[in-house]
């Protein structure tokens, strides 16, 4: 079998993807990774020509608002008609055609989820501004991805639903060629599509190859199957041939590969471990029928796998690592998703009814609320043609903003006799420095102190530096060291902070010499055990922590404070000659990490 001429260069592959997508765009999509420029324009031009005549093409910006994306009240028409008139959003407008999402790498998960839902269901539900309607939305999506590097990608929900992943970044404009298929050929292919049969072995091969390339999503083999079917239709065939499957796998599955297939060990096939993928021209050779592999015909699986493998981008491993690190970051980063609605600052979001005392007026939303009523309020004359709009307090809509929630640093301060003697003053100095920092970052601080037989919240979370300073200055010291109690109180406080949607950070400052157990009885071993136990609870709750050991420099390396820090899975900072600035830097590093 010969090398597929239609996929011999990156441009041809991209152009083939455009043609295949255009044959069967509904519920499918293309991600086009490229900067703006002539190559991308040429590709888009190709796509537009390939799409069915008269198919709408709508372009949406990445941060499109819901009233444009899903639809809403048409103010002008409403004013004219004197009754609410709905205006379809861009998704509904693109019904029967293609939605182009510009700068898809900047679009939010919310936008992606709304588009995904339309792709999945073929309808868009408008449940806004008093309207309840479903509009047909049988469309395809082209996501223009201008991201640089691997961290900038469109939301995964969208990426997963795009059948073709096209990368134009390496293509120079000299490599651009004209369309490989005429409009008539595509029309003919579209007509044939429904009649193309898929043998069971085709499905099997695509699923197996997807699994061996480490592609988890089941949408991938389905998209590959659609691609194979479109390829067969384009050829004018009535059944999917092996070549179609191989090419479809190289177009759809290869870009999604998360591992090299050689890692699979249940295949006795002597696949070269670290052979670089051969150039596309001799891609099919390893599975030549003459190879005495098996007593049967060469497996379709292997054939398809070889084709797909040849098309795996060379920087796969680097990409996999980047992907893994991205995932790590998103799962552990306490700040991810921690947004809150504010009336004062941040990114504007949905406006809600309210009074002017509560925030700033959202003019457009207010107009939208007032529009349907104009005819009623204006008596007989419609509110067009010089008459003023009548707006009542009920119409007022207040802008709300979405902002990242701040962190709250909870200091757990050892105010016991042993600590106090040494460096409570220093610690207090450090906290004051941190307070200044928190003020700059708009973070809150809280203070838990333990001494004697118990612990208490000396300062509930606050942003007031003055208050914090006062609480700190008035902090009494002396008595036993009930670390466990201190940690328990701090954890309860951290829970509260999390429930408010903020991200707590615990900073424990102690010499670790616990001598009061949880139940208030003195005794070092039990007290330490309880402290370690309390530390483990903090670890289990997933709250990040920092432990600053304030014990004198002569302490042994297995200092109790280290054991407690370990139990908390806290960053441990030993400050032999603690000074305020160093403590501050340590906390800053922990907050930043």
């Amino acid at each position: 079998m010969s090398a597929p001429i239609e996929a011999a260069t990156p441009w041809r592959r991209a152009s083939l993807a455009a043609a295949l997508f255009a044959i069967d765009p509904v519920g499918n999509g293309v991600i086009v990774r490229a900067g703006p420029g002539p190559v991308r324009d040429a590709w888009l031009g190709l796509l537009v020509e390939a799409l069915p005549a008269g198919a709408p093409l709508r372009r949406a910006p990445a941060n499109i608002a819901d009233d444009r994306l899903l639809g809403g009240l048409d103010i002008t028409a409403t004013l004219r008609a004197g009754r609410p008139v709905a205006e379809p959003g861009i998704i509904a407008q693109a019904d029967g055609g293609v939605l182009v999402l510009a700068m898809a790498e900047r679009s939010t998960q919310g936008t992606a989820a709304r588009i995904s839902s339309a792709l999945d269901r073929g309808v868009v539900t408008l449940a806004r501004d008093g309207f309840a309607m479903e509009m047909p939305a049988r469309l395809g999506v082209v996501a223009l991805d201008e991201g640089q590097g691997d961290d900038e990608r469109p939301p995964e929900a969208l990426v997963d639903r795009m059948g073709y992943w096209v990368d134009l970044t390496s293509i120079g404009w000299r490599e651009i060629e004209g369309a490989a298929y005429s409009a008539d050929e595509l029309v003919a292919a579209r007509a044939k599509l429904g009649g193309v049969e898929a043998e069971p072995s085709v499905v099997e091969a695509l699923v197996v190859v997807a699994a061996r390339l480490g592609v988890a999503s089941l949408r991938a083999p389905l998209f590959a199957l659609r691609a194979a079917r479109a390829l067969a239709a384009l050829r004018g065939g009535v059944r999917i041939e092996d070549d179609d499957v191989a090419l479809a796998a190289s177009l759809v599955l290869a870009p999604r590969a998360t591992r090299m297939p050689a890692e699979e060990d249940d295949e006795p096939e002597p696949e070269p471990e670290s052979e670089p993928p051969p150039p596309p021209d001799d891609a099919q050779e390893p599975s030549d029928p003459s190879e005495p592999q098996d007593d049967t015909m060469p497996d379709l699986d292997d054939l398809v796998l070889a084709a797909a493998q040849a098309a795996i981008p060379p920087d796969l491993l680097a990409r996999i690592e980047a992907g893994a690190s991205r995932r790590r970051k998103s799962s552990s980063d306490g700040k991810s998703g921690a947004f809150s609605i504010s009336k004062l600052r941040g990114r504007p979001t949905e406006a809600r009814a309210g009074t002017l005392k509560e925030g700033r007026l959202s003019l457009v939303a207010t107009l939208r609320a007032a529009a349907p009523w104009q005819r009623v309020r204006g008596g007989e004359s419609p509110a067009v043609g010089g008459n003023r709009l009548q707006i009542k307090p009920d119409d007022f809509r207040i802008v709300r903003y979405r902002q990242r929630r701040g962190a709250t640093t909870v200091f757990i301060l050892d105010a016991s006799g042993s600590s106090a003697m040494q460096r409570l003053a220093e610690v207090k100095g450090a906290i004051e420095l941190l307070l200044a920092d928190c003020y700059i970052r708009r973070d809150s601080v809280a203070l838990v102190a333990f001494r004697g037989r118990g612990a208490e919240i000396v300062l509930p979370p606050t942003r007031s530096t003055a208050r914090a300073r006062r609480a700190l200055a008035g902090l009494p010291a002396g008595g036993g060291t009930p670390i466990a109690n201190g940690l328990d109180v701090a954890l309860a406080l951290a829970d509260q902070i999390q429930h408010k949607g903020q991200t707590p950070l615990l900073v424990l400052m102690t010499d670790g010499r616990a001598n009061i157990a949880r139940d208030g009885t003195p005794g070092r071993p039990q007290a330490l055990q309880d402290a370690i136990d309390a530390g483990r609870r903090i670890r289990a709750s997933g709250v990040s922590a920092l432990a600053i050991d304030t014990s004198p420099p002569t302490s042994r390396p297995d200092a109790p404070s280290f054991l407690i820090a370990e139990a908390m899975q806290a960053i441990y900072v030993k400050l032999p000659y603690a000074n305020a600035t160093m403590v501050n830097e340590a906390v800053r590093a922990a907050v930043g990490s």
């Binding site: 269901r121 008093g130 988890a216 089941l218 199957l225 289990a540």
Partner: protein
């Protein structure tokens, strides 16, 4: 919208299918949360459920699907109505709460058209009214606006929707089963939300090749010829539907022996779940399962089967145990039932 993929044709995902069936048999288990991988058919299953659910009897013309046999939960209009209400069979509602829905459509608001045309102040019921006696589905629950989530949970817990807006003051029944789905990579669900759901399941992509092949094959067949596919599965669908119907009928007669309650309590104690919601859900889900299986009383087998979905999202993280919560439930089960 074309008819959805048949429920019975969904390959694997047994615990997800079971949890939906349990919720269909006994709505009081209190909602299902399906969290997990992309492309595993979470939405497909919910939409399939809509087609599977047996029809229900409702008062004709009632916007809230009032049950003619359940006068205690009538809406105001049905309460006022004199005489025997006329009723008809209608499909049980499975209402989709789309992202981007505004509050006025969710809770209901003033009917603008009528207010403008006739000057009438009348209430236009929202999605919560539509969902009464059925299911309310939130896809991507973690992306829903917080204020809407709070509102939904409040209504789901109380079963009543109270609307005080635009000069309207309306109370109407809104008893529905909340189904949420989402992908944890797109943001965790707030912890206080988690245990409001009765059952929680972790949906994973099947990893064995034969069932993956079967998924792709069925999906492909369905997309190419939905009508023929439905015809092929109609028998299975009917069987499943009948199973739900008879399980509902028999639910009240399924006995819950003290030993089962004791087991449930001991299990919850061993796992350290907070509050009594865990036990209640566990017992209710086990009873629904027993009824589905045609058993006359709740036994160990049912408890074992539903414990992971009823309890795994209620566990406190254990400081001494790094294992996942599903593993811990499994371990506790083994300890308990080995003895």
């Amino acid at each position: 919208m074309s008819s959805p993929f048949p429920f019975s044709a969904i390959v694997g995902q047994e615990s997800m299918k079971l949890s939906f069936m349990i919720a269909a048999v006994d709505p009081s288990v209190g909602g299902v949360l399906a969290f997990g991988d992309r492309g595993t058919g979470k939405s497909t299953a919910v939409r399939a459920l809509a087609a599977l659910l047996p029809k229900m009897r409702a008062v004709v013309g009632c916007a809230y699907n009032c049950d003619p046999a359940d006068a205690a939960h009538f809406c105001d209009a049905c309460k006022r109505a004199k005489g025997e209400p006329k009723s008809a069979l209608r499909p049980a509602p499975v209402v989709d709460l789309p992202l981007g829905a505004t509050e006025d459509r969710v809770v209901g608001a003033l009917n603008l058209e009528r207010a403008l045309a006739n000057g009438e102040k009348c209430f236009e019921p929202g999605l919560l009214a539509q969902a009464n006696r059925g299911f309310l589905y939130i896809d991507e629950a973690n992306l829903l606006e917080d204020h809407l989530v709070d509102l939904l949970l409040d209504v789901a817990a109380s079963g009543v929707n109270v609307v005080e807006r635009e000069g309207l003051s309306v109370r109407h029944p809104a008893r529905f089963v909340l189904i949420g789905s989402g992908n944890p990579e797109e943001g965790e669900l707030r912890p206080q939300l988690l245990d409001r759901f009765g059952l929680a399941i972790d949906v994973k992509t099947p990893i064995d090749v034969p069932s993956r092949i079967e998924v792709v094959r069925r999906r492909d067949r369905f997309e190419r010829d939905p009508a023929a596919f439905h015809k092929k599965w109609a028998g299975e669908e009917r069987k499943l539907r009948n199973k739900i119907v008879s399980a509902r009928e028999n639910l009240a007669s399924v006995a819950t022996p003290d030993s089962a309650i004791e087991r449930a309590t001991r299990l919850c104690l061993a796992l350290g779940t907070d509050g009594l919601r865990g036990e209640l859900t566990l017992i209710r889900a086990a009873r629904a399962l027993a009824s589905l299986e045609g058993k006359s009383e709740v036994g160990d087998a049912q408890l074992r089967r539903v414990a992971p979905m009823a309890l795994s999202h209620r566990l406190r993280r254990n400081p001494l145990d790094d294992a996942g919560s599903a593993v811990r439930v499994e371990r506790a089960l083994q300890e308990m039932f080995a003895a």
